[in-house]
Amino acid sequence: MSDGLFEKGAITGIGETAYTRGSGKSDTALPMEAALKAIADAGLSPKDIDGVVPYASGSTVAEDFITNLGLPDLRYSATTPLGGASCVAGIQAAVSAVATGLANHVLIPIGRNGYSGSRIGNRVQQMPQFRTIGEYEMPLGTLAPAQLYSHMARRHMELYGTKSEHFAKIAMNGRKHAAMNDNALRQAPMSLDDHQSSRMIADPLRLFDCCLESDGGAAVIVSASERAKDMASKPAYIMGVAEGHPDSPSAITQRPDITTLGTAKAAPRAFGMAGITHSDIDVAEIYDCFTYIVLCQLEDLGFCKKGEGGDFVSSTSFGFDGDLPLNTHGGLLSQAHIVGMNHVVELVKQLRGDAGAAQVKDARIGLVTGYGDMGDGTVAIMRS
């Protein structure tokens, strides 16, 4: 396995806005606010930023960052159009750029009014990656991710005996951690009964299996590792990073195995690059657009075998003080949907020891995933 980008780059700055449902700010202001915070956290000036990887499905482009932040010489820009897998794919692009000297400090910003602005049912129809299902499935009335993904969840349940109660445990874990986080939208406790009595959206997915729609922004700075050690904040070194795409990615229903995600291709590359095994992972921030997608990624990441996700979820404690601390910020399910950049920020906080009440004791190595566009998977492994 190639060392590839092993420890060539580090996350040197993080920033988050308040996560709300009604920001009162523009879709451009949110990523800018997060970007300024991340730049300040890194101890940099906007003038030091020479690379930008904006969110491909967002409303800001690289030029907006030049204009607003007065970037004097943007030398590297790219987008990583993988939906919810974009942020971690952006890390891969950014590390590639700093490793080769194309750029020194790459900003990866995201932000949107995902609740008060354009909501998911409208957004997906406008994305080119949804063109295939847009023509063949949406005219029937199956158009939102909850509807499309539920076919994956149903087959997994039928083949492997996976239960809604397994999904509930993942939802309840996110809520427990959100209640410990001041910047989380959902604070009220969730019981198994609460989950099981939440209304059905797309059977087998209930309301509490679905992530929030939210307003907010988050950003990180990726710098070359040799620069990182002298910077203002404690760096999180990127040991391994990879992306993977499922076969027939443009429509779930046409995929040979609808219970396997692109994550299954990315994970061996990321773990191989990092040179570690699953037992080395102290904390995992796993993209949780839907509870089932977490369970499926636990399998595809290799924490358990395909089909054993239900048993693994039942027998593993996911609390910040548990066997495999999972989504210690509350995740997309209970903190906010910031397209998984909130997962990246949380992992860096954990590795710095700055994660507050849900700090995992002695967190040294952690994993963050992205998942999007019906099957693309990204994985990054970092160390303090």
Partner: protein, 134 residues
Amino acid sequence: MEIERLYPLPNPDSQPYWDGLRDRRLMLQQCADCGTIRHYPRPVCDQCYSMEVDWTEASRRGTVHSWSVSHHAFHPSFKADLPTTFVTVDLEENVRLVGILRDPEVTLSIGMPVQVGFEDAADGAFSIPVLFAA
């Protein structure tokens, strides 16, 4: 405000599929060089990379691969149809199709045989596949 339904936008790759549904025939692309049948319609055969296409009429027989029951309409024009059962079907031709189940009494299971039928949508603007227990 008038609620517009989501319409398909046929292109040269897909027009025969939509025309077929309107004519009550399930038409699938077949590679003119290697004979592989593919769905959804697209310009290149991923087995031999040929861009030459024939169309073949499918048997309309298949089995249940998975399903989902929508209780929430993500577009207002589908609200009246709720709850709606969408079924992913393995067709005999070794490709998959999604259709709406029009057999409300049936209890679905993986591998259950189903038959494809047709239904006009959006006041006859286009037609969609629907499914019945076989």
